[in-house]
């Protein structure tokens, strides 16, 4: 489609046109779009950076099984074209035909779940998605789901109670009754790629990998986005106008997952919330990392490709991927190559990727049964926080209890994710004893000169980094 997108809102297909006379640009956020409409002001802006959840809406998407799958997302970080071919559900849509409250709304009323009420529409939407997931969540899972919704008034206890009461069923509601009709509406929206040009901006959302690679070759300056949870901040916080965007969130090839006895291959466009399910059993340290990764609304759009694509020195995925010995598949029109995770980042926010390349997948070799891998994240707040220091460690002991292989990767200790090579060298061949580990702790210091910044002092980082090694030992010396 040219200069136009279509999605379902308020039970019908809505088209939004772009171009010089349009009120909207391709980087207009869904939040701002909604707040410009007369009847969708329930959605609130609390931060415009994905950190508060006041702007939470639910996006419904067709699954392969022709069902609608509902995901809570932050509308403040979602560009309008990302809605193309999807259903947008806001808090105004939840009441029943006779004005009756949806079960999650009623449960919040009953539990005294709102005080000032400003966070409430976002909380309703997060719980609505949870309700629709029919997952019978535990208290722990409910708290995890709500971690992306800040509330300054209630202290959360009534919210957990309301969720437990409302979300224990099978997800049946008015939306379930209307699902077949919505499926038809969604199917009626053309599924080819979209291409938008609007004044100073062009925005492409190719529907195939080949189309995307062709575009990349033509536009070396274009910014690639997938979930845009990193890139959107340039728009919502820095008010930049991004001239060329290539959005690869519609490319099915990037969502493929393949598994064999040797490795698990995850498409670069698989969302973090999906990745969590895939790695839960076989890659526990990876899962451990993702449990501390942002919060639900971000995980529902952010991708692995985007996470390593940022090359952030405090990105959470890279340390774990290096510890697992993962590699990235990079593709361009010229061909395909494999780059080891450990060699992907070349400096502060610099990567191996050429401008015409896309990361298409991530290959995770299955560790041997003896291999021990752990992830640690030191952050001021446990959830929805960026690491001050992070670490992923891998250990293989030989039959004699000596260190056969060890990988010690740190985040937040240098301008990019970095291994503590001296420490690794020292420990290799030594017995995995506290005595040697304590000696090795001192070497960690020599490998890094961390900085003091808003997240913590250099001294704090140093102490934490060396303590993490001891922590690893304490958890693996059994």
């Amino acid at each position: 489609m040219k200069n136009c997108i279509a999605f379902v809102l308020d039970g019908k297909v809505v088209e939004v046109a772009f171009g010089t006379t349009s009120l909207f640009t391709p980087t207009t956020t869904v939040l701002n779009y909604l707040r410009g409409l007369p009847h969708h002001r329930g959605v609130k802006e609390g931060c415009a950076e994905g950190d508060c959840g006041a702007c939470t809406v639910v996006v419904g998407e067709l699954t392969a099984a022709k069902k609608v799958e509902y995901r809570a997302v932050n509308s403040c970080m979602l560009f309008l074209p990302m809605l193309h071919g999807k259903q947008l559900i806001t808090v105004e849509n939840l009441k029943g035909p006779a004005g009756e409250l949806h079960p999650v709304q009623q449960a919040l009323v009953n539990a005294h779940g709102s005080q000032c009420g400003y966070c409430t529409p976002g909380i309703v939407m997060t719980l609505f998605a949870l309700y629709k997931s029919a997952s019978k969540p535990s208290r722990e899972e409910i708290a995890d789901t709500l971690a992306g919704n800040l509330c300054r008034c209630t202290g959360y206890r009534p919210l957990l109670e309301a969720a437990a009461e409302a979300c224990s069923g099978d997800g049946r509601d008015e939306f379930a009754k209307d699902e077949a009709r919505v499926v038809d509406l969604l199917n009626s929206i053309p599924c080819e790629g979209i291409s938008i040009s609007s004044g100073e901006q062009c925005y492409d959302q190719p529907a195939s990998l080949n189309a995307c690679l062709a575009l990349l070759e033509k536009r070396p300056d274009a910014i690639v986005v997938n979930g845009a949870t990193d890139v959107a901040l340039r728009v919502t916080k820095e008010f930049e106008v991004l001239p060329q965007i290539i959005d690869c969130s519609r490319i099915d090839e990037l969502r493929e997952v393949a598994s064999d006895s040797g490795a698990l291959t995850i498409g670069a466009g698989v969302r973090v919330s999906e990745v969590m399910k895939i790695v839960r059993h076989d890659f526990p340290a990876f899962h451990q990392m993702l449990e501390l990764f942002a919060a639900g609304q971000i995980r529902n759009v952010a991708t692995l490709g985007g996470n390593v694509g940022t090359a952030s020195p405090v990105g959470d995925a890279l340390p774990v991927l290096i510890a697992y010995g993962a590699s990235f598949i990079l593709r361009s029109r010229k061909g395909t190559r494999t780059v080891r995770a450990a060699e992907f980042v070349r400096g502060y926010r610099k990567t191996e990727r050429r401008t015409d390349e896309l990361i298409t997948s991530i290959v995770l070799p299955r560790p041997s049964a003896r291999t021990k891998i752990r992830f640690y994240k030191v952050s001021k707040r446990r959830n929805l926080d960026i690491a001050t220091v992070s670490a992923a460690f891998k250990l293989d002991l030989d039959r004699g209890g000596r260190v056969d292989d060890i990988v010690l990767v740190y985040g937040g200790m240098a301008d990019c994710t970095k291994r503590s090579v001296t420490t690794e060298g020292f420990l290799k061949g030594k017995p995995w004893d506290r005595r040697y580990v304590e000696e090795a702790q001192r070497l960690v210091d020599n490998d890094f000169s961390p900085i003091s910044d808003v997240r913590g002092s250099a001294e704090f980082r140093r102490i934490a980094a060396r303590n993490l090694l001891l922590k690893f030992w304490s958890e693996t010396n059994v």
Binding site: P38, R41, G42, V43, K44, G46, C47, E49, D51, V91, E92, L94, K95, L101, Q105, L108, V109, H112, G113, S114, Q115, C116, G117, Y118, T120, P121, V124, A143, A147, G148, L150, C151, R152, C153, T154, G155, Y156, R157, P158, L159, L160, F239, Y376, V378, K380, R381, R382, D385, T388, V454, R455, G456, S457, E459, F460, I463, L468, L470, K471, S474
Partner: protein
């Protein structure tokens, strides 16, 4: 009454229909306002040129201090806060220019075209610098009882030290916002998110150079206030009003989150020095406090906040000899302001530190020391400012909570756990709160109401308080319905509006329900009296032969008015009202309340500043990862005194929410400025308030039973602020866990907030000390 009905706006909240300032229907002529603020902490403004900005697309007005028609002033108490900086700036975030344009993007584009030249001057950015430069905001104050020097001199044990408590951001979910709509001539209506509409009205009138009669301020609801909109909600209102007047169009300003955090004041940072003398049992004999607060660049409420800190540095403890000196310091940071607890938390953190140190020094359980020092029931029951601690519930709460929280057994379990674990340590602590209720500025203790009954038997209540989530309007609705004996859905509480109830006090100091509830009750009583007179006359006319109904016989119950002695004489409430109107009797009445029995002598520092005290206690247990400084809050038990709660659902919500807010202040919420005075933690990316995952895994909140409060409406007790300070139980529990690293033999370094960094650095020091001392015997 005393029922758990939902918040009056709950259904509107959950459907997104509740309107906040930014949601009000907009007119086509609406302009967006933007504040251009100082990038320097201290500088002289040399020159500026606004021409280009004024010519930018979509821009309708660009204003500087010169364009203010009235007074360039918005200081609430002391006139030291210009509305727009004129000659110089004194903090980063200070408003210098205002822009109005069709869109926010146009405002931002125009801002780039403003050419200002500043000459930076030296800035004072820390309390230490302010103290070194003797940059006092006003004269020091002192409160004392007994002779502390003598007490300290003769005490068997003396300890001294200092404590730093951090600033904190209110983080109301709705940032500061105001919408001004012009009327005829000087008229203007201000839709504001202010906790203090009357003051907003006053300041708007003053900056515009008009009279109060010309300005109406309306507050439907506030998306969170916590004190942050007690004075500083006025600012956006004044700025929008100036732009509205200059353009003749409606103007709305809603601060962007980062700008709100950069421009507005925070909780006052405190640096407190203390010295305590005590006996072998841990009885406090004398305490000396030196309180220092960081006021920021202007006065705002800093002196009142410091005064409350002085009142509350005893927390729940009787100290025979006490000497409190307080100094308020000026720095080049945004002017700090009211925040739940209003100086109380900072002072109590110091007192709890004193107690905790005494306990560690004497190798006793801190709860035991606390109990030993609580205000007595019959003796040792007078505070250092001479108020008797009446209806003292400290002992009752302590006994019940120690039992219900299984404190003793858990203390033992914690000790065992700590002995068995090298890298993980648990901590347990009980802390009390005793909090004085009333504005300490005595004249503020008044409230007004206006109640209208309409011919269909429905009731509209106006009062001076604002609804910010605390459930004030719900309680008011309950009070009006109860008094009139009608169902709750007949009563609506109107948006707070200065044209309905004038000259009101801020909704603050936890006085909202106590005062406005009484004012409403008085108005309703007047109306009931009038109605009863008509109804009695009606009964007598209808049935002249029978006995006489006097107005005093009329009962209002279950939507019916009847003669209590002859219940067959009855009329439905809705039927009765037209009869009153036919008799030409007014169904509109005002009510007024002034809190009785309070008063105090500021200069002598003695008197009865508070109507009553609120009490509560919490026991918290934490698990600390001593290798990373990470803390897990395992369990919190709270027992709080809400009197005969008007609405236990709402009060429990206040307790839980207050406690979690206190928890944030005590743990993850850290405000940092860089060396130029820029706020580094200016968004939720770096400023971390608690999430749903940070609340206690096991969270038990109970209201104290049989706790009728003789001093407030229906025996209730306010809840709002006091539970915030129960967050200190977590803070003390963390310290207990840290202390376990050195087996409680060494006093750990500590500060507030106890971030993972503070925790880890403190543990590292203890570990190093232990290593050094490893050869020497450790006394247990």
């Amino acid at each position: 009454m005393h029922q758990q009905i939902p918040h009056e706006s709950a259904a509107l909240h959950v459907t997104g229909e509740a309107l906040y300032i930014d949601d009000l229907p907009s007119s086509p002529s609406l302009l967006i306002g933007r504040v251009v603020y100082s990038p320097y902490a201290h500088a002289r403004i040399v020159s500026y040129d606004l021409t280009k900005a004024r010519e930018a697309p979509g821009v309708v007005a660009v204003l500087s201090a010169k364009d203010i028609p009235g007074h360039n002033q918005m200081g609430p108490v002391v006139k030291d806060e210009p509305c727009l900086a004129a000659e110089g700036v004194t903090f980063i975030g200070q408003a210098v220019f205002l822009i109005a344009a069709r869109t926010d993007a146009q405002c931002r584009a125009a801002e780039k075209l403003i050419d200002v030249k500043y000459v930076p001057l030296e800035a004072i950015l820390t309390l230490e610098e302010a103290i070194a430069a003797n940059n006092l905001l006003g004269p020091p104050r002192r409160m004392q009882r007994g002779d502390v020097e003598v007490a300290l001199g003769s005490a068997p044990h003396v300890l001294k030290g200092e404590l730093r408590t951090g600033a904190a951001e209110h983080w109301y979910l709705e940032t500061q916002a105001a919408l001004c709509v012009p009327g005829e001539g000087p008229e203007m209506t201000v839709y504001s998110s202010s906790q203090n509409p009357s003051e907003t009205q006053k300041l708007v009138a003053e900056v515009l150079g008009v009279k109060k009669k010309d300005v109406v301020v309306e507050v439907r609801r506030i998306g969170g206030g916590f004190g942050g909109k007690e004075t500083q909600g006025n600012h956006v209102a004044c700025w929008s009003a100036l732009l509205c007047r200059a353009t003749g169009c409606p103007v709305k300003i809603r601060l962007f989150r980062d700008e709100d955090m950069i421009m507005t004041g925070k909780r006052h940072r405190f640096l407190t020095r203390y010295e305590v003398g005590f006996d072998d049992q841990g009885k406090l004999l004398g305490v000396k406090f030196e309180l220092n607060s960081d006021a920021g660049a202007a006065t705002d409420l800093s002196f009142a906040i410091m005064e409350r800190a002085m009142f509350h540095c005893d927390n729940a403890y009787y100290v025979p000899a006490i000497d409190v000196t307080a100094r308020v310091w000026r720095t080049n940071l945004p002017s700090n302001t009211a925040f739940r607890g209003f100086g109380g938390p900072q002072a109590m953190a110091a007192m709890e530190t004193v107690i905790d140190r005494v306990a560690r020094y004497l190798h006793k359980d801190a709860a035991e020391i606390r109990q030993a020092n609580f205000y007595g029931l019959e003796q040792d029951n007078v505070t250092h400012y001479g108020q008797v601690v009446e209806n003292n519930r400290l002992h009752t709460i302590f006994d019940q909570l120690m039992k219900s929280s299984e404190y003793a057994a858990r203390r033992k379990a914690v000790q065992e756990f700590n002995a068995a674990n090298e890298f993980w340590k648990k901590g347990l602590a009980l802390t009390p709160v005793k909090f004085g209720i009333s504005f300490t500025t005595s004249h503020l203790n008044q409230a007004g109401a206006l109640v209208n009954i309409y011919s269909d038997g429905t009731v509209l209540v106006n009062h001076g308080g604002t609804e910010m989530g605390q459930g004030l309007h719900t309680k008011i609705q309950q009070i009006a319905a109860t008094e009139l004996g009608i169902s709750i859905d007949r009563v609506r509480v109107n948006a707070t509006n200065t044209s309905k109830v004038p000259n009101t006090s801020p909704t603050a100091a936890s006085t909202g329900t106590d005062m406005n509830g009484m004012a409403v009750k008085h108005a309703v009583e007047t109306l009931k009296d009038r109605i009863a007179e008509c109804v009695a006359a009606l009964f007598n006319e209808r049935d002249p032969s029978a006995v006489h109904t006097a107005k005093g016989d009329c009962c209002f119950e279950s939507d019916v008015i009847f003669d209590s002695r002859h219940p067959e004489r009855r009329i439905g409430f809705a039927e009765a009202i037209p009869q009153v109107i036919v008799r030409r009797v007014s169904l509109s009445a005002t009510g007024f309340y002034r809190t009785p029995g309070i008063g105090w002598d500021k200069t002598k520092g003695v008197g009865t500043p508070f109507r009553y005290y609120a009490f509560g206690m919490a026991v918290s247990e934490v698990l600390v990862d001593t290798l990373t400084g990470a803390m897990t809050l395992l369990r919190t038990d709270i027992l709080h005194d809400a009197g005969d709660s008007i609405n236990p659902g709402i009060d429990t919500g206040q307790i839980e929410g207050g406690y979690i807010q206190g928890l944030g202040w005590c743990t993850t919420e850290e405000i940092k400025w860089d060396s130029a005075g820029n706020l580094m933690t200016h968004s939720p990316d770096t400023y971390k308030i608690p999430t749903a995952k940070d609340i206690p895994i096991d969270f038990r909140v109970t209201l104290l039973e049989q706790a009728t409060n003789p001093n407030a409406i229906y025996g209730s007790k306010t809840v709002a602020e006091p539970p915030f300070m129960l967050g200190l139980s977590t803070w003390m529990a963390i310290k207990d866990a840290i202390s376990a690293v050195a087996n409680h033999t060494v006093e750990p370094e500590y500060a507030l907030p106890a971030t993972n960094e503070v925790i880890l650095l403190s543990i590292e020091k203890l570990r190093n000390m232990m290593k050094v001392n490893a050869s020497e015997p450790v006394h247990a």
